[in-house]
């Protein structure tokens, strides 16, 4: 048996937004090298969990703990989490007008490099990094001089999230419905990029509604989230089963959602 190194340990996590309890006791351990898929009906709390992990200030953790590499993740500011390798590909990426993609990406990469004690990249050196990463997601440089996500199609925004992931090389990547809005070719490219970025010592959480994505990014575990709790966990076959039967068969409380 190989030695499992826990990276993320979520224990009895409760979180609320605007006074409404959304996450109601989640337990989940993600070890190095693993891919976990999280599925579940609309409004079950998948994005809330993802945003809590990234440190969104609107979401309040009311109970429980999250440890990341043995450290208390919840006490870190969002940017500190990112600098330590936590990355969230947003379900709804934000448009930042007036800032070009290239400028933003270099700024972010340099912030992370500074944390790691690596020297900052100037525009020219960054361009080399950028070119290499653009290739992974099949883009040319023209997208880089456009403002971040401004006027991007839904699919382009998702691809841009993966580009950011490719550049920032996170240790823990949470992909929140990155597959939604992608056509089949784009999905293949994005999935291939995610697979290419996998390393034995990083981990990925894939939030999705569709088995389709999981054909390309094969999960080690599949969890079903319903009403703020994980109501079922299993191997990759669980996703197939969900695709076939939906969520209703799982538990009375899920059916009630």
């Amino acid at each position: 048996m190989e030695n499992k190194v826990p990276m993320l340990e979520i224990e009895n996590l409760h979180a609320s937004v605007g006074g409404n309890a959304i996450i109601k006791g989640i337990n989940l351990v993600v070890n190095e090298g693993e891919v976990h898929a999280i599925m579940g009906p609309n409004g079950s709390g998948k994005s809330t969990l993802a945003l809590v992990l990234a440190g969104h200030p609107a979401y309040e953790v009311t109970e429980g703990s999250v440890r990341y590499d043995g450290q208390d993740l919840l006490e870190l500011a969002p940017e500190e989490r990112a600098r330590k390798g936590v990355f969230l590909a947003f379900q709804y990426p934000v448009e930042i007008r007036g800032i070009t993609n290239a400028y933003f990406l270099r700024f972010a990469l340099n912030a992370i490099r500074a944390e790691q004690g690596i020297e900052e990249l100037d525009t020219i050196d960054f361009l080399d990094v950028l070119k290499e990463k653009l290739e992974i997601i099949g883009w040319d440089e023209s997208m880089m001089n456009r403002p971040v996500n401004d006027g991007f199609s839904g699919g382009e925004k998702k691809r841009n999230e993966i580009l950011q992931m490719a550049i920032l090389e996170p240790r823990l990547a949470v992909l929140d419905e990155t597959d939604s809005g992608l056509d089949i070719d784009a999905l293949k490219t994005v999935a291939a990029a995610v697979n290419k970025l996998r390393k034995p010592d990083n981990a990925t959480i894939v939030v999705t509604h569709y088995q389709r994505m999981l054909n390309y990014i094969e999960p080690d575990f599949v969890h079903v989230l319903a009403d703020g709790r994980i109501v079922k966990s299993g191997g990759k076959d669980l996703a197939l089963e969900l695709e076939e039967k939906g969520y209703d068969w799982l538990a009375p409380e899920v059916a009630a959602v």
Binding site: A58, E79, A82, I96, I99, A111, I112, E115, P147
Partner: protein, 439 residues
């Protein structure tokens, strides 16, 4: 009006002095124009906040100050390269306290192009100047423009003859150097012939931070199919006062694009007036104002769609920090018969503190029925979702805020066609906001 009557009298006395001395050698028509203007100034008097056009902007500090009229003509030691916005090979003009002190060598200009002092133009282009000078600016209603006209001696004259395309920009650097309260009335007249094309930069800056008052008027006249890009950078000293009118007159199929940047002055008021007086004319006004401390910046724009089939586009964004206040008033007039007008207006206001303030007023006056006019205004703090997005990528809160603030301004410049100038404007903004951060 009676309250400030002493102030008006002071300027009228100054005018009499000026007419007998520095202004003596002018052609008769100009003397007449000035007399006319000072008369109108006296009649109108300085505005108060009871005047609709000045509701949010009080000029009482200007009225109260006893400014001396700038008369000296001298070239200070000035690092032009550091102040200039355009590349080194541009045609540069320097005005010091409103007086023309240096311009490009005539032999460096294409045939027929004139870039020199307005004073010289009274002789070299007398008829042309007489035809256009002070003919468009709304001096009838605009007391500061009238005051400026009363003191016209020199200033800048640019003439681009028909079908001439200037491949290098013209940069006019207006420098204030005074170390005591002083008023100057810089004047600029640009005439673009049929199909002529040029890029012009007006760059207002100061060597010393005294309480001077700049009262500037620029007029740009575009003949049919002419194309003028005007950039205007206002970085006056932070305790100076800056009142200005930019008046544009467009003939058919002409294109005019203004990009303004306003960072300076304790009090800045800029009136931008465009008359689209020929079918197919097109204009765009873009601007960024970014102020802090107790600065006050007011933009009043009027776009007059006098003829059918004209397009106008307007986008001004203001960043207000500390307890500064930004004012925007955007008036769009669509005259009777100006069908197929397409006018878009947008004013964004970013309030970085609780005590910063912004007033934004669209004013649509539409007398035609087949037109498209849209306007929008936003007002508020930095967007929290955007802030979180940047932070989630490892960017610290202070940097993220600065980046977003910068983006809010830079967004306006995205459409600036000349990439070198766009980069220059972006850098000005970056440096300006960086300085704010370091305070």
């Amino acid at each position: 009006m009676s309250k400030s009557s002493t102030a008006e009298t002071r300027y009228v006395d100054q005018f009499k002095q000026f007419s007998a001395n520095g202004g003596k050698s002018a052609p008769a028509w100009l003397k007449e124009l000035r007399e006319d203007a000072i008369g109108r100034f006296e009649n109108l008097g300085f505005p108060t906040t009871r005047d609709e056009e000045w509701r949010f902007t009080s000029v009482k500090d200007i009225v109260a100050q006893q400014y001396e009229l700038a008369t000296k003509r001298e070239l200070p030691s000035l690092d032009v390269a550091a102040v200039a916005v355009s590349p080194g090979d541009s045609h540069r003009i320097i005005l010091v306290n409103g007086k023309f002190v240096a311009g490009p060598a005539p032999e460096s200009l294409p045939d027929g192009v004139a870039i020199h002092s307005l004073g010289r133009a009274f002789e070299s282009h007398g008829e042309l100047v007489r035809l256009h000078l002070a003919k468009y600016s709304c001096e009838r209603e605009n007391v500061f423009a009238a005051l400026n006209a009363a003191f016209i001696t020199d200033g800048v004259f640019v003439f681009v003859p028909p079908e001439i395309v200037l491949d290098r920009p013209i940069e006019i650097i207006y420098v204030s150097t005074s170390n005591r309260p002083m008023v100057c009335h810089p004047r600029c007249l640009v005439i673009a012939g049929r199909g002529a094309k040029a890029v012009i930069i007006e760059n207002f800056t100061a060597l010393e931070g005294s309480e001077y008052f700049t009262n500037a008027v620029s007029e740009v006249v575009l003949d049919a199919n002419a194309d003028i890009g005007l950039y205007r950078i206002q970085r006056e000293a932070t305790n100076a006062h800056h009142v200005a009118t930019t008046q544009i007159y467009q003939s058919r199929d002409s294109r005019f694009a203004l990009t303004t940047v306003a960072f300076g002055a304790a009090l800045a008021r800029h009136d931008i007036q465009v008359v689209l007086d020929g079918e197919g004319a097109e204009c765009s006004l873009r601007g960024v104002y970014s102020i802090r401390g107790s600065q006050h910046t007011d933009h009043h724009t009027v776009i007059d769609h006098a003829k059918p089939h004209c397009n106008s586009f307007e986008h001004l964004n203001g960043v207000m920090d500390d307890s500064s206040r930004g004012v925007f008033n955007g008036r769009i007039i669509v005259r009777k018969g100006a069908q197929k007008t397409d006018a878009k207006q947008n004013n964004g206001n970013l309030l970085l503190t609780e005590s910063a303030r912004a007033d934004s007023q669209p004013q649509l006056e539409i007398y035609a029925d087949d037109v498209r006019c849209t306007h929008g205004a936003t007002l508020g703090p930095l967007d929290q979702q955007s802030l979180f997005y940047l932070e989630s990528r490892g960017i610290g809160e202070a940097d993220a805020k600065r980046l977003l603030t910068y983006g809010f301004g830079a967004e306006v410049f995205t459409a600036v066609p000349d990439s070198a100038l766009r980069e220059r404007l972006n850098k000005l903004l970056k440096d300006h906001l960086g300085a704010a951060n370091a305070k």
